[in-house]
Subunit: 464 residues, 2 copies
């Protein structure tokens, strides 16, 4: 037997051993993932939790009594699943209050008016007590506003009516292309002498729900700030068609929202300590606050209960993680991100090592995969896990943004991931009174939690 043959046999035996070893591993991994999915679908708790959070607590804007209730409830529920520790992390958050519901009408001719559904944008100032009545100038971009200039805009209400483009497959891409009119519209229109802005709701459907969301005056002096409201898509279509018939019609609206001084709030945190690498943290999170309209069921009650469920599924399946697995329910994502910023700052000061974080903040719909934010090497590593998700029809593993809260934890080495559910229905509910528990499908919600716990498990198992 010559040397080459010996080497060949050696390689064969060795590699065969490897294959057997890796097959055994694969079987164990597949079995564990199957267990998580089955638990989530058969013995899940997240749907019941979301029912409570949506129906018994409801919308929970920063600074509201409801958010305080939600914080105490989440702390209590996390305590009951037997984590190693559960605590509240204090942080000051903005307090903006809508006040009485808004009122608006299109005045087609003196004495003739049609009511339309509007709501104040988050952070907006109120109108004068008697409301605002003015001519309307409709635009579909900041460029159009620029070209109209001061003489055409002064003393008018600027109506930003760019619709979310329907032809993009991922509705978050449509949102990205239109959200600037909501966020920056008032700041920019003010420079041209506008006395208020009205923004088409960021909703791909035509319906009667106005959608709120955060806006900013940037560094605009207080006296130059103008009220900003959102009009339902049906209202926007009506206003636009009436303007095309008669550009001289007036729009009347009234809102009495108000900014108050910051108030104390909390991130809710719980964890299972790692058996081996206690200092390495794998985080799963979502934001506990929501807008005040609706129940914050999809945004982001779904993410909250899925994140809680991840730790519960680890516990009830008696999984002992090698690394520390932590759930964080961030406060004040919607209008300030203070919870996330504070969490990241403290974690930096305390030298905490977040090797991995996943956020669910895109609705409780059927999960399609993961958006992955990391270096090339780790991206490749995670893509290799894709076959484990094949039986669960999870096949989106792409580079992309993770989530607004965990984003502050980004380092050169760590891995940030966003759960990516099917996006088709999200913007029907987002930031509106339509975002209620009955828009949640139990199985879709549970599949999201199962997908997150499975990814966390793989990250824990393979080490990062």
């Amino acid at each position: 037997m010559n040397l080459r043959i010996i080497i060949l046999i050696f390689i064969l035996v060795f590699s065969r051993g490897n294959i057997i070893f890796s097959q055994v591993n694969d079987i164990e991994i597949k079995h564990t993932i199957k267990k998580f999915y089955t638990s989530a679908l058969v013995n899940g708790k997240c749907y019941e939790w979301l029912g409570h959070l949506s129906k018994q607590i409801g919308g929970r804007l920063s600074g509201s009594l409801n958010l305080e209730r939600a914080i105490l409830w989440a702390e209590q529920e996390l305590s009951e699943i037997g984590l190693d520790s559960v605590w509240l992390q204090p942080v000051m958050v903005p307090k903006w209050v809508r006040g009485t519901f808004e009122y608006a009408s299109i005045e087609s001719s003196p004495g003739n008016s049609i009511n339309v559904p509007i709501c104040a944008l988050g952070g907006s100032i109120s109108t004068p007590f008697s409301g605002i009545s003015a001519n309307v100038i409709e635009v579909r971009s900041f460029e159009e506003l620029d070209s109209l200039g001061f003489e055409n805009v002064n003393n008018k209400i600027v109506f930003f009516n760019k619709a979310m483009p329907a032809d993009l497959i991922n509705t978050f891409d449509s949102y990205s292309k239109t959200v600037n009119q909501r966020y920056d519209g008032a700041r920019i229109a003010s420079k041209y002498g506008a006395i208020a802005v009205l923004v088409r709701s960021l909703n791909l459907s035509l319906d009667d729900f106005p959608h709120t969301g955060t806006m900013s005056y940037g560094d605009l002096p207080i006296r130059e700030r103008i009220p900003a409201a959102s009009i339902s898509t049906n209202g926007a279509e009506l206003l636009s068609s009436m303007l095309s018939l008669n550009p001289e019609i007036k729009f009347f609206f009234k809102q009495n929202c108000k900014n108050y001084p910051d108030v104390l709030s909390y991130n809710v945190i719980g964890q299972i300590n790692g058996l081996k690498n206690n200092n390495k943290i794998l985080l799963v999170g979502a934001h506990l606050d929501s807008w005040d309209l609706g129940e914050g069921a999809h945004d982001d009650g779904a993410g909250v209960v899925q994140s809680m469920e991840v730790l519960r599924l680890l516990k009830i399946n008696n999984y002992k993680p090698l690394n520390t697995i932590r759930v964080v329910l961030f406060t004040n994502e919607e209008n300030g991100l203070r919870g996330a910023k504070n969490y990241a700052e403290l974690s930096y000061l305390n030298n905490e090592n977040h090797v991995f974080a996943i956020e669910s903040d895109a609705g409780g719909f059927t999960p399609r995969g993961f958006s992955i934010e990391t270096n090339n090497e780790d991206f490749k590593k995670i893509k290799k896990w894709k076959p484990f998700f094949r039986p669960y029809q999870i096949n989106f593993f792409e580079r992309g943004e993770s989530g607004p809260d965990i984003n502050f934890l980004k380092t050169k080495e760590n891995i940030l991931i966003g759960l990516r559910p099917d996006s088709q229905r999200y913007f029907e509910y987002h930031h509106s009174a339509n975002d209620t528990f009955d828009a949640i499908n139990k199985r879709e919600l549970e599949l999201g939690a199962a997908s997150m716990v499975s990814l966390i498990y793989l990250a824990d198992y393979f080490g990062l």
Copy 2:
């Protein structure tokens, strides 16, 4: 320059040419598919069509006036999109009528009863006019019924209470595992002396909607046939828990459904003639009939309007197919499949060559891909088209069943395909009063139509 170098250069030039040629093709294909998706999402008509079919016409069981209306409506709409021909294909179909709504109650003790929602199963006989009141024996399988035997079953109502398993990812797999109790339950229970059967609704949710569906007495003599009804999942849970407390409780129900002689119905057919291979047919289809409960929005109004939309999208994008592209709206899928059988028989007699057929009959939810029924060679060919669907998040290309109607067209050479939408919500609506237009999402529906027309286009372009 020696021969090897010459050959090498020759290969390089030749293959490069090939690559360039194939890249040009790819760009054209991608562009065309993008056009179809954009048309469907921006200028789609299927949602409006489905609104009419669901709300203005409604449930359309074989033999009903509503189905006749739907046939005339579909013929009219297809005529208006400018097809080369539209026609009705006559076929006799069964006529089963529910009669007045069913009534049922659990009699926990004399004088105490609780109403529960039931509905007759399609094809069932009525109860006697005064209804049936009897003890109940609960089982979860035919094996359990066998083991109980005549002495335990005789003169009782058999209550089939096997729940759809929640841990399977594809809900159609859960359906397959439980549908036999609905279809064969009465036939089998009758042999053990049962006087009626009550079947747990095939629904993964707990709610108050009874779900109907077809059942069969097989070759059971008329005098041995017993009434069969479906009970809502909540009702089934209640009945089961009451039986566990007191096996002697009685169940009362009454239904007066009836089978009538067959009546005339029609398949609705339209086509665009092929420019080159007029004799090769690419079929897209769905079934126009539905159960009488609800509006038949997901089952199968969605498939109907998506199939119609496929031809409309070809027309408005001015696509001239090489092969004949035909839409078939089958009649009587739900309780007889007579439309499909008749269509296949006539097509065989007329030597029609259906090289390709796709059916949409799994709800109007976000499309996930295609279930493909063909030989190895053609399966591989179709799998190669997968990258064209990547931008649209269509990634399920697997072997599997196609659709109940096109199934009769199967040959050794042709390709049958089922559109596979996300299945999580389907059985909440299926065959119940819950299957209404408001459960339809416009974009999800449109994406299904766009996916079908894109596949048909590829089949036409590449030839089969």
